[in-house]
């Protein structure tokens, strides 16, 4: 009986520990660099002069990108006339085939970021990172728009973008990003 009780206790601890590890992983953000304060001139993407420009970088095979794209879709739905969105999808230099094609988002032009050059220009290191510039090309917000890896839903990031686009002062201008590393210099998922 004692053995069974001990086993049961160990089992319960294992389950709780396992969930804790799982939660820790989900809540651990990826590496993050600050994007340039002004829209990079070398970028192949043009900054909109009439509306805010939002750039999102994703790794096409990152499982967490689906949640970020889902949130982006909802943002566009709310601010379609005030927001110019560019979705940059990381493209390998080699001819390695993609596991799956990058997901499409309504009204968004998808741009292949071969070798992650644009990501380097915008300082994006983690899939799902977003940079928001105003019509003047000044950085207004950067970070992720999910609260955990692969978890859709309300987040501080979307709330900040919503506020900026409404002309209000956001609660935060930078949030952590949850996703895989876009480039090889950071292999941490």
């Amino acid at each position: 009986m004692m053995l069974v009780t001990m086993l049961t206790a160990v089992w319960l601890v294992t389950i709780v520990g396992g969930f804790a590890v799982l939660a820790n992983h989900s809540l651990s953000p990826g590496r993050q660099h600050r994007p340039p304060r002004h829209w990079p001139a070398a970028s192949v993407i043009a900054c909109s002069a009439t509306s805010a420009s939002l750039v999102m970088f994703i790794h096409p095979d990152c499982p967490c990108a689906l949640a970020s794209l889902g949130e982006l879709d909802r943002l566009i739905a709310r601010h379609a006339d005030r927001l110019h969105v560019s979705l940059l999808v990381y493209e390998r230099l080699s001819n390695q085939p993609r596991r799956q094609p990058p997901p499409a988002v309504n009204g968004v032009s998808m741009i292949l970021d071969v070798g992650g050059r644009e990501a380097l220009r915008f300082g994006a290191a983690t899939s799902g990172q977003v940079a928001l510039y105003d019509a003047a090309g000044l950085l207004q917000f950067n970070g992720g728009i999910t609260v955990a890896r692969g978890h859709a839903g309300d987040s501080d990031g979307t709330a900040a973008i919503d506020a900026i686009l409404r002309g209000e002062e956001p609660a935060v201008r930078q949030t952590p990003v949850f996703g895989c590393s876009i480039v090889d210099h950071d292999r941490r998922p």
């Binding site: 396992g18 895989c180 876009i182």
Partner: protein
């Protein structure tokens, strides 16, 4: 208390015990619950295993790898699906296998199942659809019909939500800052389902308890039933054993009774023989007319009393034999007119002098010869006429015969009608009951044992018929009718009256022998009977020697043969010390001694007669001795013996000319009717048909057609004696008896061979006779 099936071995059923019923119902419920829990444990073990594999598959599909640019590694969710899920499932699956049905097992399973739900929700990124897994799991857990398991599962959900709402509300509520009561709302929805499921569990459990109660009641009813059946079976077995013992005791008692009756028969008849015999001697010795009338009257009284005593003994013995099923009737050729006339002449002297007339007649033409049992038929008629004579003081008694051919089978109806006292219906109701007469006054006035009519009816039924009271009225008389199946003998003739037969009878009585010539050896152990029989035989002119037992008789016989002065006849008692009559006859036949043997026995039944004949005797005479019958029997066999020897002597001469085997010549049979020229042709035809008859019997035997063989044997038995071959009749009778007694094939074959030998002897004897006649004719012609 009785045993129960192995599955209930821990429980013992007591018939009619309410306390035990309750305990049994609880045990059954518990047993069912354990089976249900164990079965559900196994189901969840399978489900957890399937979920584990499915989780791995989903993880591999949704998030197989974690990327860093162009390089990747296995995604942590895959490891979680493999190892964390394995950790979750390991203990409950192990418990389901090794401790099924235990409380801990199902609660562990509940925790594991809800943890799996939590992991699934987490790995799917908090998709709302994944929450249905929780509700499905709760419903599945309700299969346990244990509401506590639902509480445990719900507690896991609640705790999970509580923790998540504290540290990561967005993962369960979808918003960053949910209201504080949101976790209660989620738990409330779970509780909503729980309430329904718990209610269902409680109701289901109640139903299970009721089922267990009914099952216990059914078991108890069955057990009670089995217990009672067992008790009754034991009682039946005991009763059967007692019955068997009683039957064995009854059989032993019956055997003892039979032996007693046989001994009584011998012990009473033997002195009666002397009493009645010496009465005759006294009546015939000297000049009886000179004796005082009172002495003659005394002698007659002794004679009458002896005869009455003999009659009573015979009745008692007959009834005993009938009731024991040991009395057999014969079916042989019977001269019907002669039987009627014999009864007439026997009963006429007993009628009230001058006041009562006896008329014997045929109502319709009747066959002169039928197949029946003459002894028993005579006994029935004597009894009925005797009864009529007893109750008729004046008027008449009619003994009549009639053939009724109106039915499916012809019947012989023998009626005895008197003009006597008659009976009231109440008195008539008492008829045919043993030891019962119309009323006790009858016994006082008329005597008798009350057995007569009973015996008559039993005998008639044994013969395939019946005796019934046709009518009876007080003061008008009585009429009894004997109904018998009519079986006419072959070549029988219809006769219209008894006149011609009456002449034949008279001639027969006139021919009763009064003298005998020849040497007779009498083997008899009783002094009285030995002296009496010797007296009768010697007085008739025979030369008589006596032996006190079979062994002495055998010595005398052998000595006579050695000195070439053989005896012409052996009369032997059956029951004797040292060597009995059966053994004596068997020994003589075994030594091939050809001497006529007449058995003398107080055992007057058919089977006694058969035993005598089977032992090798040629005839038998019953005790008490009927002097005339004995003398006639002796004369017949002495003459037959001489004829046999004479024929043997003739054959001895003939055999010098014929090449027949010695045995066949020695055993050749000659018809007793061979000297009657009127019958020669009939006898010739009969003998000529014997080969065919034997061949048919052999064919029936080979074809195992016992009943047909018995019919053929029966026919030959009836016909043989009629054509002057009693040996054939006897051999055929033995064959028939063998078949009817169901003896084995070997015995039947032996009897058949014996009969065939007798037929061969008859055929050979007839041929020898023909050849001898031819030889004589030739010699006469030559001379």
């Amino acid at each position: 208390m009785i045993g129960v099936p192995e599955s209930m071995s821990t429980y013992v059923i007591r018939c009619n015990s309410p306390a035990d019923l309750q305990v049994r119902a609880a045990a059954l419920f518990q047993e069912h619950q354990e089976r249900l829990h164990a079965r559900t444990d196994r189901l969840f073990a399978v489900l957890l295993s399937v979920q584990w594999l499915a989780g791995i598959a989903v993880a591999l599909w949704i998030s197989p790898r974690a990327w860093s640019g162009s390089s990747s590694e296995v995604h942590p969710h895959v490891w979680a699906a493999i190892f964390l899920a394995a950790a979750i499932d390991s203990l409950p699956i192990a418990l389901a296998i090794f401790a099924p049905g235990k409380t801990l097992t199902r609660h562990t399973i509940a925790v594991a199942q809800m943890s799996t739900s939590a992991m699934l929700i987490h790995l799917s990124g908090g998709r709302i659809e994944a929450h249905f897994h929780i509700f499905g799991s709760l419903a599945f857990l309700a299969l346990y019909r244990d509401w506590r398991v639902l509480i445990t599962a719900s507690a896991v959900v609640t705790v999970d939500h509580l923790i998540r709402s504290a540290f990561w509300p967005q993962s369960v509520f979808g918003v960053l800052q949910p209201a504080w009561w949101r976790w209660l709302e989620h738990a409330g929805w779970v509780m909503f389902e729980d309430v329904i499921l718990i209610y269902s569990c409680i109701k289901g459990t109640d139903e299970l308890r009721q089922i267990a109660r009914r099952t216990a009641e059914l078991e108890e009813a069955n057990a009670c039933f089995e217990f009672r059946v067992d008790q009754q079976t034991q009682a039946l077995k005991q009763g059967e054993a007692e019955l068997r013992l009683a039957k064995e005791a009854a059989e032993v008692a019956n055997q003892a009774k039979s032996e007693f009756l046989a001994n009584m028969s011998h012990e009473i008849r033997t002195p009666l023989t002397a009493i009645l015999g010496y009465c005759d001697v006294l009546r015939e010795d000297g000049i009886i007319e000179r004796a005082p009338p009172s002495r003659i009257q005394t002698i007659d009284t002794i004679r009458r009393a002896g005869e009455h005593l003999l009659s009573v003994i015979n009745d008692v013995l007959d009834l005993s034999k009938i009731e024991a099923g040991k009395l057999e009737t014969e079916l042989i050729e019977t001269p019907l007119p002669r039987i009627l006339l014999e009864v007439d002449s026997l009963m006429r002297p007993r009628l009230a002098s001058g006041e009562v007339q006896l008329h014997t007649f045929l109502e319709t033409p009747a066959p002169d010869r039928i197949f029946s049992d003459p002894t028993r038929l005579r006994q029935i008629l004597v009894n009925l006429v005797g009864n009529a004579a007893k109750f008729t003081e004046r008027g008449s008694i009619d003994l009549s015969a009639r053939v009724d051919r109106s039915g499916r089978a012809p019947q012989l109806l023998l009626a005895v009608q008197d003009t006597g006292l008659g009976m009231t219906p109440e008195q008539a109701d008492c008829l045919f009951r043993p030891f019962t007469q119309a009323d006790s006054s009858v016994t006082r006035k008329h005597g008798g044992t009350g057995l007569g009519l009973t015996i008559c009816r039993r005998l008639a039924r044994l013969m395939g018929g019946d005796v019934r009271l046709d009518y009876s009225r007080p003061g008008e008389g009585t009429r009894f009718v004997v109904e018998l199946p009519l079986m006419e003998a072959p070549d029988s003739q219809l006769i219209a009256d008894l006149e011609s037969c009456s002449k034949e009878r008279t001639r027969g009585r006139d021919q009763a022998p009064t003298t005998l010539s020849g040497r007779i050896l009498l083997a008899e152990d009783g002094d009285d009977n030995r002296r009496l029989i010797t007296f009768h035989l010697a007085r008739a002119g025979a030369e008589v020697e006596v032996a006190e037992n079979g062994e002495l008789a055998l010595e005398l016989l052998e000595a006579a043969w050695r000195t070439n002065r053989p005896f012409d006849l052996l009369i032997t008692d059956i029951q004797m010390p040292v060597m009995d009559g059966y053994t004596l006859a068997q020994t003589l036949r075994a030594r091939d001694r050809d001497i006529p043997i007449v058995a003398l026995t107080a055992h007057a039944m058919t089977e006694d007669r058969r035993k005598c004949l089977e032992a090798g005797c040629d005839d038998y005479a019953t005790k008490p001795i009927d002097k005339l019958a004995l003398l006639a029997t002796c004369q017949r066999w002495i003459e037959q013996g001489r004829t046999r020897h004479g024929m043997a002597s003739d054959l001895k001469k003939t055999m010098q000319h014929a090449a027949l085997p010695v045995a066949a010549r020695h055993e050749a049979l000659r018809s007793e009717l061979a000297d009657d020229p009127d019958l020669a042709e009939l006898v010739n035809r009969f003998v000529s048909s014997l080969d065919g008859k034997v061949a048919r019997m052999r064919a029936r035997f080979a074809g195992e057609e016992a009943s047909e063989l018995a019919v053929l044997a029966h026919q030959l038995k009836g016909a043989g004696g009629g054509y002057g071959f009693p040996a054939i009749s006897e051999a055929a009778g033995r064959l028939e008896a063998c078949i009817n007694h169901g003896e084995d094939a070997g015995r039947i074959e032996t009897s058949l061979t014996e009969l065939a030998a007798q037929c061969d002897r008859a055929t050979a004897g007839h041929r020898r006779l023909g050849e001898a006649v031819c030889d004589d004719s030739d010699r006469e012609y030559a001379s």
